[in-house]
Amino acid sequence: MRDAHQNGIEVEGLVREFKKGPRAVDGIDLEVEPGEIYGFLGPNGAGKSTTVHMLTTLLPPTAGTARVAGHDVVRDGPAVRDAIGVALQEAALDPFLTAREHMRLQAGMHGLPRSEAERRGDQLIDRVGLSDAADRKVGGYSGGMKRRLDLALALVHEPRLLFLDEPTTGLDVQSRTALWDEVTRLAHQHGVTVFLTTQYLEEADALAQRVAIIDTGKIVAQGTPDSLKAEIGRPTVEAVPAEIAQRDAMRDVLGRFGTDTAAAPGAVAVRLDDGTEELAEVVRALDAAQIRVANLEIHAPTLDDVFLAKTGKRLEGAGEGTESEAAAGRQPTGELEAVGA
């Protein structure tokens, strides 16, 4: 565990209560290995940002312990801050400064000598693709450019751990992919441990080696994305009848193969009792019932299914921005949606 002490995160029974409010974080335990990308997944208000604020020393915990890079977040705040880089939920930038001036300020505050600060700043600005805009005031930057600069600023002192709080919220697909690539590169090439909060399931799925799901301040599931999906196990078949009048008949037929689950408008979906082996049987049964099918798809379990199974709710933003799901005509999930609603 020597490396874990140097580069990892160990949390036991962490609690944060706000005055006259609920427990925003309610006794969570987690361990993040060095060099790992750890996804912290949950809806708005679940406790993700409060956890990040405690782990980055910005907010003292009410109870519990947390060690980051081998240092206690309460007793060794300065040592923790020295080891970590942080990009919080909103890109915290001064609209009147340029990217280069931000770099100079951040590097200076971290004690980099002037020449090193210039070199490091230019290097990071180049790496995040902002060289052409480096001398423009960031007030005129797009959301994606601000996020990239925010990430670069978090890296200026070469931190061993990186906290990213919903780094891609509001970004377009291209900016999101570019940020994913950079995060992956940091972890894989430089051994930086990444603690990433997100409400996007595909982000956690694509980036994180392990994931924790937090809901109302409690961790409800933890493991690799594959192991969590395997826990849920059963795939879902979703079909759209060619004639809407046959929707109830289709529901009756599909109901023989599994349990009804949430589906896109006009579609019927069931979680199959016996896995994909039943698919041929499903098609034959629909044919026998003379139900014409406009579209039929099989969905492997997703982290959204895991979230649904563990919390009884769907996750806000689940599937947002994924072309495959948009093409499949799946229902975009909006606000937290109770099962069966």
Binding site: G35, E36, V73, L97, L105, H110, L112, G191
Partner: protein, 273 residues
């Protein structure tokens, strides 16, 4: 799951940053911000000059009062513009820190080895710059329109120096409000309250010529009167050590109280461990 074959770069050379170094970095930022918001500088000068123009013409007959210290009401009232400028500094400093809190920039700074005094000192650097620009501008415009400066060229420097001291003193009050509220609109809301001090002072008349007893008492208790009278002494009388000392004393007292309150507000605001 560990880094495995990851390439660990050579450690960056880093130094421990002292408070003065940090003040330097933050002051540079504060000055750059101020320079890049010319509208803030202009608006903080237009209103005081507007009030000066109205009063210099509308109240010119006041100089006929027996015992009035000058025959130029423009010269008499010019002192008030410096004080008004300082009150705008209060709002500017408060809004700057409140915006930092609202935008999350304050958290960014908290995550560095930031020292509290450096943040306060750095923020006040922009206020100081604004104070220099305002005072120079007010004086130049006043003189151009015929105001007197009895203390001469050295008096001009003393006047600008006093204006800078008063600006950072009242700027520290603004910082306290900004740190306490964390909200730029709340700072703006507090601004008119500060003007109460200005209006219940010796802004329009020397204290001994104020006819209403209660007003005279309030103006005598009001520390802002002594700051205005310090400015005024340089313009109207020449070198009046007592008036200057009283004005400077008020400014230093406000500065000490403001910085102390801002430090306490910063401690509350900075929850970091």
């Amino acid at each position: 799951m560990s880094a495995g074959a990851a390439t660990v770069p050579a450690a960056l050379p880093r130094e421990r940053t002292g408070t003065l170094t940090q003040i330097g970095h933050l002051a540079r930022r504060s000055v750059v911000r101020t320079v890049r918001q010319p509208a803030v500088i202009v608006s903080s000068m237009v209103f005081p000059l507007f009030l000066l123009a109205i009063n210099a013409s509308g109240l010119a007959a006041t100089t006929d009062l027996p015992g009035f210290p000058t025959d130029s009401y423009l010269t008499f009232f010019l002192a008030v513009t410096f004080m008004q400028g300082a009150l705008f500094s209060t709002m500017g400093a408060g809004q700057a820190i409140a915006q930092d809190i609202q935008l999350g920039f304050f958290n960014r700074l908290q995550l560095t080895p930031l020292r509290g005094p450096a943040l306060i000192g750095g923020q006040l650097a922009g206020t100081l710059l604004l104070g220099v620009v305002q005072a120079t501008g007010f004086l130049a415009i006043g003189l151009a329109f015929g105001a007197d400066l009895e203390a001469g060229a050295a008096g001009a420097l003393a006047l600008i120096a006093l204006a800078c001291l008063v600006s950072i003193a009242f700027g520290s009050v603004g910082l306290t409000i900004g740190l306490r509220t964390g909200n730029a609109e709340a700072v703006q809301g507090a601004f008119p309250l500060l003007f109460v001090f200005l209006f219940f002072s010796s802004l329009a008349l020397p204290r001994d010529l104020i006819a209403q007893d209660w007003f005279q008492t309030v103006a005598t208790i009001n520390p802002v009167s002594y700051v205005i009278e310090a400015y005024r002494s340089l313009l109207v009388e020449g070198w009046n050590g007592e008036a200057l000392a009283l004005g400077a004393l008020v400014a230093v007292t406000v500065l000490v109280a403001g910085v102390t309150a801002a430090t306490m507000a910063l401690r509350t605001r900075m929850e970091r461990t």
